[in-house]
Symmetry: C2
Subunit: 454 residues, 2 copies
């Protein structure tokens, strides 16, 4: 049920535009090439925003330096350029007015994204490449301020609230904005988590099916077994398991729209009796199952609740139980950009592997397999971004141009975050300790073409 959460703050390629200072909102309208190519022309007004003080210029330079001097050029509203140091610049970042420049200097992490959404900041060049360059530079710079970063991160993690009520509000914010919207750019089964590409050449549809099979094979599902799924999105995995692996699935999700969709699909496909979809929190799981699976929910749980989640897993698994947690992660604990957690994913936090072990270790589970699929998520996101761009006109009609720019930034930033190594994707398989009926090797995961394969 989740999707990428990255620490990005960035900007999309555009050719021309003038900001509308009076309303504080940029007006966006599809340019002639917008439909199909998914590009938008930003209509802005340069008047009044042209002058920049020496102090502002100096501060802008310092800001770039503190970000590790990424290979990008910053073009101020005065027309002056702050050149990149080091390798040749990959893109130009355009700051349309002085107020935006000031906000950017004061709070770059939030103002970058907001400025881009409003069309007051733009990028000439490839948005994803631009963002990846920024992340890579910042990641190198961060190494130098390790301790401070850790303190801020700890503080920041305390501010997220994923209580029962908080979770509902957070999930509603992102996942209940309309199935029709997601249908425009996800695969046909609406799988909104990292796909698995046996080779980079397969289609997104094939890669999502391959991911579901990869998960099922890792869990060595056997016909007649029972599975509980925590956070089931639009139900694709639960239905796939019930249909192709002969198991009985009980799936939980607090997104109203997703559950309604999953139930309808189950009914249509005659899987009602084998795939049950329940609109409730993972904390409401009860009963005993052979398998626990959670794909893309842990990012929304919050580290404060890992013990609680572990207790749920421990409580619902039988003596030979096993499970998998599939989640976005990080190499080391660290905050996400406030833009992302305020505008896109409230309450989200991708754990480090160490943090992830806090779900399982207190309950004595045995970790059998961890696979990092980072590059697969970058590839998945590239597919989503391409489809999103192709549908940008329809999205603009459904919402507005600002929404298009916001989501473009979120998707491009997520590609960049996974491609630059800022985010990881961990699939962790575990089992009750001391159970010896576990696969002897992982070879069977790679037999055949990735279909149901025992």
């Amino acid at each position: 049920m989740s999707s990428p959460v990255s620490s990005h703050a960035g900007v999309r390629s555009s050719t021309s535009g003038v900001s509308d200072e009076r309303s504080g909102q940029a007006k966006l309208r599809p340019g002639p090439e917008a439909i199909g190519a998914g590009k938008f022309e930003v209509v802005t007004d340069r008047a009044g925003g042209g002058r920049v003080s020496a102090a502002e210029r100096w501060l802008a330079r310092q800001m770039l330096r503190s970000m590790g001097s990424p290979p990008v050029r910053m073009v101020l509203c005065s027309g002056e350029e702050i050149p990149a140091s080091g390798p040749p610049p990959v893109a130009r970042m355009l700051i349309r007015d002085r107020a935006t420049l000031r906000k950017l200097i004061l709070n770059p992490n939030l103002s970058f994204g907001d400025g881009y959404s409003d069309g007051r900041i733009d990028v000439e060049g490839d948005l994803t490449e631009f963002l990846e360059a920024v992340y890579r530079a910042r990641s190198a710079a961060r190494k130098r301020v390790g301790l401070l970063r850790k303190i801020i991160s700890r503080w920041w993690q305390r501010t997220r609230s994923n209580t029962l009520r908080g979770s509902r509000a957070n999930i509603h914010h992102h996942y209940d904005i309309g199935n029709d919207f997601y249908k425009l750019w996800l695969d046909e089964q609406l799988v909104y988590t990292c796909a698995y590409f046996p080779t980079p050449q397969v289609t997104l549809e094939q890669a999502q099916v391959a991911k579901m099979d990869h998960v099922c094979r890792k869990l060595w599902l056997r016909p007649g077994e029972t599975v509980v799924e925590a956070g089931c999105g639009w139900g694709a995995l639960g239905l796939h398991m019930a249909k192709h692996y002969g198991v009985k699935v009980k799936a939980f999700n607090i997104s109203h729209e997703q559950i309604a969709y999953a139930r309808q699909r189950a009914k249509q496909e005659g899987l009602n009796s084998r795939a049950e979809f329940i609109e409730d929190d993972y904390r409401a799981i009860s009963g005993r199952f052979d398998v626990f699976v959670s794909v893309g929910m842990l990012e929304h749980v919050g580290t404060d609740h890992y013990h609680e989640l572990g207790k749920v897993v421990d409580g619902c698994l039988g003596p030979c139980g096993r499970g998998m947690i599939h989640s976005i992660g990080q190499n080391e604990p660290g905050e996400l950009s406030p833009w992302l957690t305020r505008r896109i994913f409230p309450g989200a936090y991708p754990p480090s592997l160490r943090e992830m072990t806090n779900v399982l270790e207190p309950w004595g589970f045995s970790v059998l397999d961890v696979e990092n699929l980072r590059l697969h998520y970058a590839e998945t996101l590239r597919h989503w971004l391409r489809r999103f761009e192709a549908a940008a006109g329809a999205v603009a009609e459904m919402f507005d141009g600002r929404f298009v720019r916001t989501w473009r930034l979120y998707l491009a930033g997520s590609v960049a975050a996974f491609a630059s190594g800022g985010l990881q994707l961990f699939q962790t398989v575990f089992a009750r300790p001391g159970v010896n009926e576990i696969p002897w090797t992982r070879a069977r995961l790679y037999e055949g073409s990735g279909g149901p394969g025992g």
Copy 2:
């Protein structure tokens, strides 16, 4: 360079025997069936050790209860039996004299092993099965005293010292007792770490070669690359890499005997220029390498030194560096038996996965793959135990009967610890963050027969 470290305290099958109370040492001599079958008759003297008080009987019962009431019968020196509760007993544990019974009650973890070594405790039935039953029962019982166990474990971990000097003494204790001894029961290449069995039917020799290939494939070694190995045992892996994967290896080990052996092999096989063996601590590693590998050393490092080890890894890897740490582990932090850490492996501690991340996470490494090979280590140890039993006569001549019983208990206990899920074997592959030249999937690990395969 390591080998299994388990939390066992147990006893080996024997048919008859009387303890020698006067000397406090049992006399051991090979019975008629000893050579070949590897069994020993325990010569003990029952006189003077026969009576047991009601209090001692009650305490013995309580001891069994505190161990989770394993399905074993305890036969006291008086001839009385304390029956097992629950499932039918898998074996009988014989306590030869009253002094041993008292020691066992006071300090079962240490006295069990010492009593067995001395022949004052014995087991009728399969030693490994007996130990596995004890571990499984104790593991279930431990769940009830989680917190206390954690506190004791923390304290206990503080008592181990793996400073530069401490490490040398600890390693010398186990690994420098004579290459001729290890040749009696290890594979022909003297690989004293968990093997990898593509199928359980392959020989130990094949499984050790398959393990080395598994490691090399996981590290996607390319000809011309440089590898640094921390803790190289008798050099088999380093030589395998140099010979079959065209890399240049620099291998460190503080065991004098092992390094001398590895150097001689390198000379004999004409690999001198590509495999260098250095008698020094991992903390002495300097220079830059493409790959860091450590198989079976982390168990001897001690959690207090993980940061130091991580610093070494960070310092010696180039910008595209990657590595693997292969180590015995646990599902949750916990102390080993004092018998094991005093008599067999001073300074040893198998970390939980969470503890293991402390080596890599502070340096921002990206974990790509974790595989748990627990059942492969149980199988490896069964091979070792069988070969050890077959060579028990020769071992007794080389050392004495007490040594044979001590090592038998250590090997059987290690089989039991891995088979019962008390110990794990983690292979953790990692790389510098943001490096995208990493394998796309793990499929190539399972192509072909396991030989060098790019």
